[in-house]
């Protein structure tokens, strides 16, 4: 997939833009854009998976069932309490060292390459953080709402789905936008497990030229992604605003 993107998206963009770009960027333009797409796709997928995971975790944390609440609390504690880099290394170099024979061909589909390991760990990581953000918003809603919903005959889950979560989601949007930006910055760490994301490409470009502008260019591209995320969440906030 990424080969095709490189050929049909990165190459034409660079072909058009290179005359107006500074030379350090123009020389490695295709590499930069290949990395840029990888980072963006990694982000879209991990934010989506992480959001579903966060919802489930937040509900489990809030539920009356002690077992569910405890499992969710342990997951959240482990992934928020250890560095992302450590999680990546344990999954990639640690679990991955058992090889295909040790893990079975099904698990090897995940652990067999850095990209999927990166995606899973980033999703689990953001899932844990986002769950806390959502839980915090729910806890801060007036308790009367849940009581009223229950009094009108809704089950706990239905009340959550119809009454509580939509409001909580609106409250936590700014904090959640911040989490997505943090995740974007954290995603640069997947370059240490042989993923050619924006950081992976940048380090490879740097290895060939030793010019510090190489990193400045990467910083600008990360800023562009951060800008996109901020803009997206702003528009979402505006749409969801009540009254």
């Amino acid at each position: 997939m990424f080969d095709l993107m490189s050929q049909w998206i990165s190459a034409p963009i660079c072909g058009l833009a290179s005359p107006i770009l500074p030379s350090v960027f123009a020389n490695s333009c295709v590499r930069y854009f290949d990395g840029f797409w990888q980072t963006i796709i990694l982000l879209i997928l991990s934010v989506s998976a992480g959001f579903v995971l966060a919802m489930a975790t937040a509900l489990a944390r809030l539920s009356q069932r002690k077992f569910l609440a405890n499992v969710a609390a342990v997951y959240s504690y482990v992934f928020r309490g250890t560095p992302l880099l450590v999680q990546l290394f344990i999954a990639y170099y640690g679990i991955g060292s058992f090889g295909e024979e040790g893990l079975g061909s099904l698990l090897w589909l995940i652990f067999g390459n850095g990209w999927t390991v990166g995606l899973i760990i980033l999703s689990l990581n953001t899932g844990a953080y986002s769950a806390e953000i959502i839980r915090g918003a729910v806890v801060n809603l007036p308790p009367g709402q849940m009581e009223a919903a229950k009094a009108s005959g809704m089950s706990w889950l239905l009340a959550m789905y119809r009454i509580i979560l939509p409001q909580a989601f609106r409250y936590c949007l700014p904090a959640y936008a911040n989490e997505v930006v943090l995740l974007m910055k954290g995603s640069a760490l997947v370059s240490t497990i042989a993923v050619m994301d924006l950081m992976g490409q940048t380090r490879t470009i740097y290895a060939r030229s030793y010019q510090l502008e190489v990193y400045v260019n990467a910083a600008i591209m990360y800023l562009v992604i951060a800008g996109l995320i901020t803009w997206l969440f702003r528009s979402l906030e505006k749409r969801l605003k009540v009254g």
Partner: protein, 256 residues
């Protein structure tokens, strides 16, 4: 009267304090006259970390012989490969001895001593993975190499268009992935491959040595021409008096 006394006393204290600080600073910078030499510490047999945190290897032994010859005190500093050239330029240390090939790209930023090791590349794979370098171009093959090395550049320039290349921060990580089976081949410097294969079964060399007329040199700042001269003279001496050969024989077998 009292006031004058007080003033004199205060001034004296101030002078004493200042002198103390001055002496301290002088003492600190004086103990700093030796040379700091950076090495990666993850590239056996050239340099690798021991269990106690010290670094040893061919680079370190040659460095000790050179420093003894130059009659300077040398300290070894561990530094990640990625940042080893910027660190030199920013004067965090004065030289690099870390199995570093003399390349034109690096020469644009730093200077190199005369070569102290002749290097060539080799491919290693799991037994049966391939017989010649053409097998590296087969579809579905993933090749591993350390990022920012001559090997990684060679793969990208010669087979990169056809093959998927995984780049790692350390050479060890590339070998780990070969053992785990994520990559089918690793291309690296001959000496490190031989060292890694020692005592391991299930891996074999693929194809011939790749000779790129590549040499390792001591990396130095471009403006430190005096130090460069010293290194070259010392290198010449230890090569002539047999010290270098002794170190070489300690690490590299006739198999190479």
């Amino acid at each position: 009267m009292f006031n004058t006394k007080k003033t004199i006393l205060t001034s004296l204290t101030a002078v004493a304090l200042l002198a103390g600080v001055g002496l301290f600073v002088a003492a600190c910078s004086k103990s700093d006259t030796g040379i700091k030499i950076a090495t990666e510490g993850a590239y056996p047999p050239f340099n690798s970390k021991n269990a106690d945190g010290t670094i040893s290897g061919f680079d370190i032994d040659v460095q000790e012989a050179l420093c003894a010859e130059m009659k300077v005190k040398c300290t070894v500093v561990a530094q990640d490969w990625d940042g080893i050239i910027p660190g030199l330029v920013q004067k965090k240390y004065d030289a690099i001895m870390s199995g570093m090939s003399i390349t034109d790209e690096r020469k644009a930023t730093i200077a190199f001593s005369d070569p102290y090791f002749d290097n060539s590349l080799i491919t290693v794979g799991k037994v049966g993975a391939g017989k010649s370098l053409d097998d590296l171009k087969k579809p579905g093959v993933v090749i591993g190499a350390q990022r920012s090395t001559v090997a990684s550049k060679w793969i990208e320039d010669n087979i990169g268009a056809k093959a998927k290349v995984n780049l790692y921060d350390t050479q060890t990580a590339a070998y780990d992935d070969l053992a785990a089976g994520r990559v089918q081949f690793v291309v690296a410097d001959l000496a490190t491959v031989i060292d890694w294969m020692k005592g391991k079964t299930g891996f074999e060399l693929v194809g011939d040595k790749i000779d790129l007329n590549d040499h390792f040199g001591v990396g130095l700042r471009q403006e430190d021409t005096e130090l460069l001269g010293k290194f070259n003279t010392a290198l010449k001496t230890i090569k002539e008096n047999g010290t270098y050969q002794k170190i070489y024989d300690k690490y590299f077998t006739a198999a190479m």
